[in-house]
Subunit: 454 residues, 2 copies
């Protein structure tokens, strides 16, 4: 594939248009922006030469497109998402999150990488192949609008869309490389569940002098309650939570040892060493093969100024990342049971906003799509890729792979410097170009293989 197919200036301008939609799927105030974004993307894919349409779901719309080459060639289902994370704290952004700004070879915007940038780099490869008559696989594209908030709409449609989505390979552009930039095949993702907890005590805020030592304090009690979720060594002290975990195979174990991980560089990048989690596992094992439980937010009373009250309520939100083999519903129930059993009798515990549970999964390192991706990456980069078991989640992937009958394949070019989910998210033009080249080469290479289903 020749280098002039990468139309940098035009690609960046189109990518900026895509980024200007404030498609925060989790925020109902932005749902019309999400619909507008889906409409734009559908039209854009049509212009590129795909047969595209916007599909309604019980949630936000999904964009579907396809190109049919014929029988006997593999069918690739390409998955991405057009929704983005919320932008708070918005004051921490150097330039506004929905006004894409190019600085030092990087495009800054919410979604610049996750996942608009990554998805768009792959789609531009499809465009280039189509324009030069080189797209020789059957291609299906599904770009949903709720990945960051649980994929409710797409999940609900999977059964109805089995035929439409049927494919051999589920190609996902929503992952990254290891910190040194070596091409990375993601061999698994963790599952995700979330739960919010509100503890209510007094019927109104009380004077902490007149009531301290009498009234139970929701902030204090929520703090004590949440602390019981963790053992002194920071393992998760919830009965049954670890049930069913698939331990790594000998091959997985040997491959993960080959993936470099530099704790000193980690500390430099993130301001602290990688010391959370159970110490008997290496950092990459913890990320790939072990679950984690995080309190993502807590709020109660006034933490900004001295106010001598016992507040009437306190709330926290937690997420768990699940290892392959853990049943998300079982884990959710275990956490809820743990909290209910330990909440003070005199208080009201409400567990809310639970769900969006997706399981973790791992991919066979010896499967044909993984071997093909490895060959393409060796060709492009001149070195062996690394096999990485990712800590993040794309909860829809296992369900989508099952519905499509496809083998998931996760190769992406994100990097920790991109600050996804945080202020000043960005994606470099160089990364965008690597995604473009990988996608173009993989789609060409796949055409010549016998990956097509019987």
């Amino acid at each position: 594939m020749s280098a002039e197919l990468f139309k940098e200036e035009r690609f960046i301008e189109e990518w900026k248009v895509f980024l200007r939609f404030p498609s925060v799927g989790a925020d109902p105030a932005h749902h019309s922006d999400c619909s507008a974004c889906a409409e734009w993307l559908g039209q854009h894919l049509n212009t590129m030469g795909l047969a595209a349409e916007v599909l309604e779901t019980p949630g936000l719309p999904a964009v579907y497109a396809e190109h049919r080459t014929g029988d006997g060639v593999p069918t690739i289902l390409f998955y991405g998402h057009y929704d983005v994370q919320p932008v708070d704290p918005v004051d921490a952004w150097t330039t506004p999150p929905f006004e894409p700004a190019l600085r030092n070879g990087r495009l800054y915007a919410r979604g610049a990488q996750d996942d608009k940038g990554q998805a768009f780099s792959f789609l531009k490869a499809v465009e280039a192949l189509l324009a030069t008559g080189q797209l020789k696989v059957n291609l299906k594209v599904i770009i949903e609008g709720e990945e960051e908030s649980g994929s409710r709409g797409l999940s609900a449609m999977l059964d109805a869309w089995r035929e439409r989505l049927a494919a051999d390979i589920l190609m996902v552009a929503d992952t990254g490389t290891i910190p040194d930039g070596t091409p990375t095949i993601v061999m698994g993702l963790r599952g995700l569940l979330h739960v919010a907890v509100t503890l209510r005590g007094p019927s109104h805020d009380l004077h902490s002098g007149l009531h301290g030592g009498l009234a139970l304090n929701p902030v204090t009690e929520l703090t004590r309650l949440l602390a019981t979720l963790f053992a002194p060594d920071r393992s998760i002290a919830v009965d049954g939570f670890y049930d069913g975990i698939h331990n790594p195979t000998a091959l997985e174990h040997s491959l993960v040892q080959k993936t470099p991980f530099d704790p000193v560089a980690y500390a430099r990048s993130f301001g602290m060493p990688p010391v959370a989690g159970a110490p008997e596992y290496t950092p990459l094992e913890r990320l790939g093969f072990r679950p984690a439980l995080d309190i993502n937010g807590i709020s109660g009373g006034n933490a900004n100024s001295m106010k001598t009250v016992i507040p009437s309520a306190a709330t926290a939100r937690l997420t768990a990342r699940l290892a392959a083999g853990q049943d998300p519903n079982h884990c959710l129930e275990a956490i809820c049971d743990h909290l209910k059993a330990r909440a003070p009798d005199a208080m009201k515990l409400t567990i809310h906003d639970t769900g969006s549970a997706g399981a973790g999964f791992r991919i066979d390192p010896e499967s044909a799509p993984v071997r093909l991706a490895r060959d393409v990456l060796v060709d492009l980069a001149g070195c062996e890729p690394v096999y990485h078991w990712e800590g993040a989640s794309i909860p829809i992937i296992p369900a989508l792979a099952e519905a499509a009958g496809a083998a998931p394949l996760l190769v992406g070019f994100g990097h920790e410097d991109d600050h996804v989910h945080a202020p000043d998210e960005s994606y470099s033009i160089a990364q965008f170009r690597r995604g473009f080249e990988y996608a173009a080469h993989f789609l060409q290479a796949a055409a010549g293989t016998h990956l097509a289903r019987e």
Copy 2:
């Protein structure tokens, strides 16, 4: 004293003027409002017939006023404060906090009771006595502007003002009655210390999937750290915290048993039973003779919507109420040492906004001022008052009493229904009138006693 001295309509109008100043002493944005409030009050006291002036301090100004009768009569120093608590959550107020509104015989506003209402009811009694030539004691008035935020200015001036403040009795109008409304002599106050804790982890918010199990989470770790402050029975698990506590005397012990406390009524009023604190003490013993530690506010990450981050920091604010005998500085140091020893090495713990430590104290039930107050209250109410060891704090009182060489005497007419420090604070006209009558009678009765210092 005849009933027509209580000029209800005029008093309410003047009280409303006092309440319209948003004198939130803890908030620098309201410091000019505090100064304006002090100016108004000084002029008002002058108009009443006292020699008043606004005194500068290193903090917010204090209002001082006096009336000299002559030698050989007791000198009463009257203390109150014109500053008020913050108004958050302001949306929870039925009417705006600084637009006083009369509903069903109660005046609603921030400070309606604490302490503008209580102080004003006493000051109006002084006015009535002055107007009728019945003020036969030497009276000194000090109304400060930082009671709710640590009395920094007044504390700093106490040494310089020893002569000015010298008195026999320190009369304080900033306490309440027990729930059934029986006249109440407050026999002690708890001390107060406050401390804020910020725990910082990663240098920026991290994706909780990519880092969960690697990066320490400041919300999780702050939660676990704060939980270590409490033993399973909710006692305070801080080495040295309980040092020096004065246990109640036999007389105190017998008097506190006589004060009624109805746990069922408590649960009805506040939505929960009085079950916090060490269970081996009765609720009133816990309030009067035991310390309490409360987390007044906590914040980290986003508790309002799902956001899968490991936030870079979390903050909590705590206050401790101290029993008589506990050294506030020692307790503060014990808490700080406890937190420092247990914070994760890889994180940055900042302890800030500490201080405003005032000691707790108790008053001898057999002292002359207490006996005089008891006689006045019996005359007015026709029943014995109760002796109550209060859980709240007025940290300046022990230091002010010491500087003035005066015996503190705390009789007030606040009630739990007044919702001080909370939305919809109010004070009834009936309570205001009781304060007025008590103050007038006490000042008259004191004139005929031999309380004057040698």
